[in-house]
């Protein structure tokens, strides 16, 4: 039982990171209807920018995260302007490949600027705390708490503000959004900004428990894709729930089935769910 709860906590930590990454991915999917294969690269850039802000500019951790969210958000906007906007009327395959091009570029870029080696991100929250006999570090509590707070804020933003609703509206009918006076260009940029920021936040939170390196995006991106189809592509609650399902299935699968096969288990869950519900858990209704 004790082990079970410790593993639930572990699953919660990873699940939080996955959810944050998947949220950004699903937002962009909702608007542009493209799976952004370069999202993992944004995650990676987030890690590096935070690290650089801390080590080179001497910013404290929190400030560095904010700076990184802003910078990577802008990178997302740049991506939208330079690549996805020109491709908005192209067949759906094209943006996928274009995204791959960006991914290759950003990884090479990171290697060029920061080198190919592993780097460590220091955190002021490295202390270990034991709650009811379960071990956590402050960093891990921070991950879980910030993920939950961000999710609530995002939900409120999308549901309760006009600007947020404009993102949803545009996801459903771009021209319709235009006709009620929404500046669709701005919304697209805003969405990419949010998506990039979320990726940067996830990376900045997760890096202290792992490492920063050019290939770090690969750790999360495939799983993020699993999550968003698990949840029903473009669905916000789907991304959150899917993230935690994957986090738990990994930690519990590794514990009670096999560590070596835990990824296969996670993917098998996906296949089973999609076999039963071909449009994901939170599939959208309506015509």
């Amino acid at each position: 039982m004790e082990l079970f709860i410790q593993q639930l906590l572990n699953g919660l930590t990873v699940g939080s990171v996955y959810s944050l990454v998947a949220l950004g991915l699903t937002l962009v999917y909702g608007i542009l209807h493209i799976p952004n294969f370069a999202h993992g690269a944004l995650y990676m850039m987030g890690g590096y920018v935070t690290l650089t802000a801390m080590t080179k500019l001497g910013m404290p951790y929190g400030l560095a995260i904010v700076a990184s969210m802003a910078a990577v958000g802008l990178l997302g906007v740049l991506m939208e302007r330079l690549v996805f906007y020109p491709l908005r009327n192209a067949p759906p395959l094209h943006d996928k490949i274009a995204a791959i091009g960006i991914l290759l570029f950003l990884e090479a870029f990171a290697q060029f600027v920061w080198g190919a080696d592993y780097q460590t991100m220091p955190t002021p929250y490295g202390d270990v705390v034991t709650v009811f006999g379960f071990t956590l570090t402050i960093q891990r509590i921070l991950i879980i708490a910030s993920a939950v707070i961000i999710m609530i804020l995002l939900y409120l933003f999308l549901k309760k503000t006009f600007i947020g609703a404009s993102i949803i509206a545009m996801a459903q009918n771009r021209e319709g959004a235009n006709l009620v006076g929404i500046n669709t260009n701005k919304v697209a940029m805003l969405t990419f900004f949010l998506s990039g920021s979320l990726a940067a936040l996830a990376a900045s939170l997760a890096s202290p428990i792992n490492l920063v390196f050019p290939g770090m995006g690969h750790l999360v991106i495939l799983k993020a894709f699993v999550i968003i189809i698990l949840g029903g592509m473009g669905s916000i609650p789907g991304a959150i729930v899917g993230g935690y399902i994957l986090g738990f299935s990994e930690s519990l699968g590794a514990t009670y089935v096999s560590n070596d096969y835990k990824d296969i288990i996670a993917f098998a869950i996906l296949v089973i769910i999609l076999t039963v519900k071909p449009n994901g858990l939170f599939a959208k209704e309506g015509r």
Partner: protein, 383 residues
């Protein structure tokens, strides 16, 4: 066969000393490894060792074979860790650059090359510990890294005596890690130890190691066997400590204690670790100079990948001298023992007295442990 010499090397990029007159020839040395993508870091480190050796040799005026001066021109190509790309690169290196030797730092690439290296006539300088590559009877393969089974008795003995008999194994999920595990665990059990947990961590896929470390620790091991690239290995050690682990670590030789320290902050967290002696702390006389130069050139501490490849290039150059040819791979391979012997003392960052019949370097190994926050050398025991 066409000649491997051509005046004024074509297509190269390491041409120092620019055109030393008509009597200076150039030997092209090929390299194919991961220079982009997730494994690029590893690929570059192996390449760095070669670059440094080549530069040193060229700066000192090249080397002389049968009265003729030669310089080295290193031709590195990226294969993204993919065997078919390695094969294509090798074809290109042989056809367009006439390289008698091609370095490659991964077993997949080596195996893809072994299909045709004897017909196309070039030596594979293999930086991989995969035993199979020297078991196939390929006559033109040279395996550079040391055999890791030499470490096992010493590691086992030390860890078992100091901490206890229960071992949990959490090595990296690469073939190297797996081979290590397959050698270590039986030995551990033979010495009366117990393996309480065994799994592997895939550093390219796992975001967090808490889950697996939790699972390993629930079996209350006295010793953890970990290893892989230094930095993630250090993270595993750190998280084990965070989860309350008080025992010792056996660290697979791929990870270096000094590099791990950079992640953990100090040696305290690694107290009781036994692993390979960090190059920077080694007492081989050639090491300080090498470390100094390497730092100056690449702005980081060298690891064994760089050092072994550095050494290997010197060995090949000496072998060419001994064989009296720069373009006959078979003759060069036959003179490898002479080559190893003739490496100048100030370049011997490791002591490799000989090459086995199968083509594997037979290195001497040095072991160290962390005791009271300091690196101390540990005497080798024989099995």
């Amino acid at each position: 066969n066409s000649s491997t010499t051509n005046n004024n090397a074509g297509g190269g990029n390491n041409n120092n000393g620019g055109g030393g007159g008509a009597e200076t020839g150039t030997v092209n040395i090929g390299y194919s490894g991961p220079l982009s993508g997730p494994a690029a870091y590893y690929g570059q480190r192996t390449l760095n060792g070669l670059k440094m050796a080549a530069e040193e040799i060229n700066n000192s005026g090249g080397f002389e074979v049968k009265g003729k001066k030669y310089k080295i021109n290193l031709v590195p190509l990226d294969d993204k860790y993919l065997p078919n790309e390695t094969a294509a690169n090798a074809k290109r290196l042989v056809q367009e650059h006439h390289t008698p030797i091609i370095f490659t730092p991964h077993s997949g690439g080596v195996m893809a090359l072994q299909v045709f290296n004897q017909t196309d006539n070039f030596i594979i300088a293999a930086y991989t510990s995969e035993p199979k590559i020297t078991q196939t009877g390929n006559k033109l393969t040279v395996r550079i890294p040391p055999r890791y089974d030499g470490y096992i008795p010493t590691f086992t003995d030390y860890a078992m005596k100091r901490f206890g008999k229960k071992l949990a194994a959490l090595p990296t999920a690469t073939q190297y890690g797996k081979d290590w595990t397959e050698k270590l665990l039986p030995y551990w059990e033979k010495q009366g130890g117990k393996v309480v947990y065994k799994s592997s961590i895939d550093f390219t896929k796992d975001t967090d190691f808490f889950t697996i470390v939790t699972n390993a620790l629930k079996e209350k091991p006295d010793v953890l066997f970990i290893g892989g690239a230094s930095e993630p290995t250090a993270k595993v050690a750190k998280q084990a400590r965070e989860l309350g682990f008080k025992g010792g670590f056996i660290i697979m030789d791929q990870a270096k204690l000094d590099e791990m320290k950079r992640v953990t902050g100090s040696y305290d967290m690694l107290e009781g670790s036994i692993g390979v002696m960090p190059l920077v702390e080694s007492d081989e006389p050639a090491v300080p100079e090498f470390v100094k130069n390497y730092r100056a050139k690449f702005n980081e501490d060298p690891g064994s990948e760089a050092a072994y490849n550095y050494l290997a290039l010197y060995a090949f150059v000496e072998a060419m001298k001994a064989a009296g040819t720069v373009d006959d791979p078979q003759a060069i391979r036959e003179h490898m023992n002479d080559g190893l012997k003739n490496i100048p003392a100030e370049k011997k960052v490791y002591n490799v007295p000989s090459i086995g019949d199968d083509g594997g370097f037979e290195s001497e190994i040095v072991v160290a442990a962390v005791e009271n926050g300091k690196i101390v050398p540990i005497e080798l025991i024989d099995k």
